[in-house]
Symmetry: C2
Subunit: 341 residues, 2 copies
């Protein structure tokens, strides 16, 4: 029986048990939701004299910034801890929805598997407001141009290598599973990123802590630039954090830093394929291995998995969009079932 | 039919027959969805030399901008044309979701009434990328500060009067129905707005036309700054537009302009309460009355409704958040049933 057949059998089994017990929605057919909606966590009011250069809007006043948008869906019969999905650089919560080639996203996959799912937009991105008053301060001549906010847009060519579609644009790694025929739809997901204008930790981190406490137990699943956020959240306060799944993190905590916050927390760090072929990613994988080893020596329950070691091959940095995205998600589901109470 | 297909079909049949006596989901209890997801419409690639001022991201490359994010949900048993919800100034698609005080948003209301619901983020806002290259051109010294993009943030105090919570901050109109006790959550919805940096029509307009054609018939429901968008979309091409519901539009088309695009289209322009008390809104209502009259003389099927004339009182500019938001939505549902085939 090959992998595909095993998965098909597993899906059929889940579908049958889902039908009998209503514990989960099967992966096809109607989806039954107990409750859905959206709200914000975090945020602070700031007073500014440079809100606007337009007559119709006052330059002076108060705005609210640093909040984090959260959209959620709770399945009819929840069968697991809530999963909070945290996107990476130059992207928004859209990351986790429908793949660029139109297949089911991980948001719906985990929902159908019985998890309440919470999808955020990081502070200053997507539906979470940026503070643009420093731009208008320059436009009004109150500040010099070098005081402009640092903002960047990742171009397609540079992003190609960062996302490990190939060593460099437009080369493609052999067997690479990102659906490149739909790359146009993927580039539309990318947004400008103010992350370098923000303090460390990013305001998203305390907002995640607020969310974790509100949910009274959630798995923080992060990706890439946000890979470190669940660890930073745990360092603030472990309350409400049921586990950490960090997918292709841009950084792990230092192996020589304070590892106490991670003791006892189920932690998974996951990487895809071709990592050793990337000068950007290979050192990050190495540093994460060192962190996981050190965390376990300090009483942790951390695990680092590189998918090819499991026989799952061809994954780019955008695992949740790859052709085998649901195979990866199914493995994550099984990891969570084994490791998170 | 293989076993998996038989099971999936059986589950689907059970799920659908479970609500066979209801064409729609009731307003309480589990929600059954046939399909949900997200995609983009519109968008174009631009080449830039000022994408980034950071060493980690190349300044030169291609990015995609002007696209419009669309999130959709289709009920198990659709019972109406799709509704496309288009938010207004300084806001995102969040407008239509959970109200600031935690009640059901219009996105879910119309879904439960049987409409497929499509919620967008306007171009350059929310999950739809802005083009920030002009900001970096100034930061790099390639352009003068006055070439900076026009962007503004509406402050709480100014927005107070624009949203007609009262004549001016912090006064409150008597009987006003916006849930002010939850204003903190509402301010978090507001985002900076680049709309003044965009051409007319806004790139959202051709994107809406693409969406309307894709859906082969949708009601374009707009609000405030986007109030004019459905009309501008119809002026481009009426294909796929089943009707227009323009809620408190910032502007209606000119009564003396070309009215041919609107002939035969079911059109509703809706206003809330206290309009005559607002120097900003009273002239807009007057101009919309003139447009509706002229459109009808030119063979149109347009209607202008001011809610207090129906006995529905106290509505602010944010009708979809007001305490009686579902009463207003129910009236809109009945208007659509009467007017849109």
């Amino acid at each position: 029986m090959n992998t595909k057949n095993i998965i098909a059998t597993a899906i059929a089994a889940v579908a049958i048990s889902g039908c009998a017990t209503h514990a989960t929605n099967p992966l096809e057919g109607p989806l039954t939701i107990a409750k859905q909606g959206s709200f914000f966590v975090g945020g602070r009011d700031v007073q500014s004299e440079t809100l606007s250069t337009l007559p119709a809007y006052l330059p002076s006043g108060k705005v609210t910034v640093d909040q984090v948008y959260v959209h959620y869906q709770i399945p009819a019969v929840p069968a697991g801890k809530p999963i909070t999905l945290i996107h990476g650089c130059c992207l928004t919560g859209k990351t986790w929805e429908t793949t660029p080639d139109g297949r089911m996203g991980w948001d719906e996959y985990f929902l159908r598997k019985g998890y309440p799912v919470y999808v955020i937009d990081q502070a200053w991105r997507g539906r979470s407001a940026a503070n643009i008053t420093a731009i208008n301060a320059v436009k009004m001549g109150k500040e010099a141009p070098d005081k402009l906010l640092t903002v960047f847009a990742a171009g397609h060519e540079g992003a190609w290598a960062i996302f490990r579609f190939g060593a460099k644009h437009p080369e493609v790694f052999p067997g690479m599973q990102f659906p490149l025929e739909a790359q146009g739809e993927f580039w539309k997901q990318m947004v400008p990123d103010f992350l370098q204008a923000l303090p460390t930790p990013n305001p998203t981190v305390p907002a995640l802590s607020e969310l974790a406490k509100k949910l009274n137990g959630t798995i923080l699943m992060s990706h890439s630039q946000s890979g470190i956020f669940p660890f930073q959240t745990a360092a603030l306060d472990t309350a409400g954090i049921a586990g950490i799944v960090s997918i292709e993190p841009g950084a792990c905590p230092s192996a020589t830093g304070d590892l106490k916050p991670y003791a006892g927390l189920p932690i998974l760090v996951l990487f895809g394929d071709y990592v050793d072929l990337s000068t950007r990613w290979a050192p990050r994988l190495k540093a994460c291995r060192e962190f996981v080893q050190a965390a376990n020596l300090a009483g942790g329950k951390a695990e680092l998995v590189v998918l090819p070691d499991l026989g799952i091959k061809g994954n780019s940095h955008m695992l949740m969009h790859d052709r085998n995205s649901l195979e990866v998600a199914a493995w994550l589901d099984s990891w969570i079932l084994r490791n998170v109470r």
